[in-house]
């Protein structure tokens, strides 16, 4: 490296500009690929952007902490975006009211399935107890999931990764499952994806339709609530 370039690197490594710009560039590239694929669910933008960023950070020897100093500005927008989900939700108010009981029934089944099947399969295949407990809240939106993991004895930062992986897997796989089961109602497609795959599933559902997105957002909020209430009671009984 020339001395001038070295100086520029010293500046960039210490400023939030690089981490922020890299995040946006990686995302632009990922959405471009996603569009080029015709919106194919397997070309998931979160997965593509994360893969590019991890590779770049590893190549340049940049720590996650340094990167996050810049990327936190994007991360921060998760809060206001969550609040903004009230708007598409309101647009579906009438249908939500009519479907209240079926939605609650599906929520209870989905919430328990998401947590218990993950723990059971992990346990059968020999995952350590800390890993099993970190898996339990995997279908819940990141901030709630980390809080639950802490309460039941999992590792919150591992849970955050498992939550995001679950979101990506659900967003990638849902349309194949729906095709096999002949699920065509956008409300059902959105709600089930929101239960299993929280915000990333919701982002995917919005790409299908506004109605699917609204029901996914509702499911995400309700499943966060339901899991936060159920798991601290159920888990000690499951793990003995």
């Amino acid at each position: 490296m020339t001395p001038q370039l070295g100086e520029a690197w010293v500046y960039l490594a210490a400023s939030p500009l690089l981490g922020l710009t890299m995040t946006l560039l990686a995302y632009q590239g990922a959405t471009w690929l996603h569009r080029r694929s015709g919106g194919h669910p397997l070309a998931n933008p979160v997965l593509l952007a994360v893969a590019v960023l991890v590779a770049l950070l590893a190549l340049t020897g940049t720590s996650y902490q340094t990167y996050f100093d810049g990327a936190q500005f994007v991360h921060f927008l998760l809060g206001p975006a969550t609040v903004a989900l009230a708007i598409p939700l309101y647009a579906q108010f009438d249908r939500l009211r009519r479907m209240a009981l079926p939605l609650l029934g599906a929520l209870l089944v989905g919430s328990l399935t998401a947590a218990l099947s993950a723990v059971a399969i992990g346990g059968l295949l020999g995952a350590s107890e800390a890993t099993q407990l970190s898996l339990a809240p995997k279908s819940v939106t990141t901030p709630i999931a980390m809080g639950i993991a802490e309460r039941i004895g999992g590792l919150p930062s591992l849970t955050a990764i498992l939550v995001i992986a679950t979101g990506i897997l659900g967003a990638m796989g849902a349309s194949f499952i729906y095709r096999a089961l002949k699920i065509e109602d956008d409300a059902v497609r959105g709600f089930a994806l929101g239960i299993a795959s929280h915000g990333i599933g919701t982002a995917r559902a919005f790409q299908e339709s506004e109605q699917a997105g609204a029901f996914a957002a509702l499911a995400m909020g309700l499943n966060g609530l339901m899991t936060a209430l159920l798991l601290p009671v159920v888990m000690p009984w499951v793990t003995g």
Partner: protein, 119 residues
């Protein structure tokens, strides 16, 4: 747009304050969402400005998960030690949850939509 962003942040702030003072297990933004929903129901819908801003933000919801997702690099060790149970558990459990929730919801909707047909 600034007016709409201010409104979203005010509701998030209210949600955070409520979650923390009452020590609720639900995060502040989710409470903020519920409060904004209630406000919209009382007021009869969002303004055009709020609707456009929300749509702009939600269109790129995927972007907002990228920084947290990149945190995967902090867990190389555990992930390479336990990749098999983790991968199988995430894959099967997620597919099972989506399929089962969708089937149960479809069944319950059909039942409640046609109560007279049921014996």
């Amino acid at each position: 747009m600034i007016g709409a962003i201010t409104l979203l942040l005010v509701f998030q702030l209210l949600g955070e304050v409520i979650a923390r003072t009452l020590a609720l297990p639900i995060p502040g933004p989710v409470i903020g969402m519920a409060l904004l929903f209630a406000a919209l129901a009382l007021r009869g819908g969002p303004s055009a400005d709020l609707r456009d801003t929300a749509q702009g933000l939600l269109q790129h919801l995927s972007l907002l998960f990228v920084p947290a997702g990149t945190g995967v690099m902090l867990h190389y060790q555990r992930l390479s030690d336990e990749w098999l149970p983790l991968a199988v558990s995430l894959l099967l459990s997620t597919a099972l949850t989506i399929g089962l929730s969708a089937l149960v919801l479809r069944l319950l909707i059909r039942r409640s939509a046609a109560p007279k047909d049921a014996s």
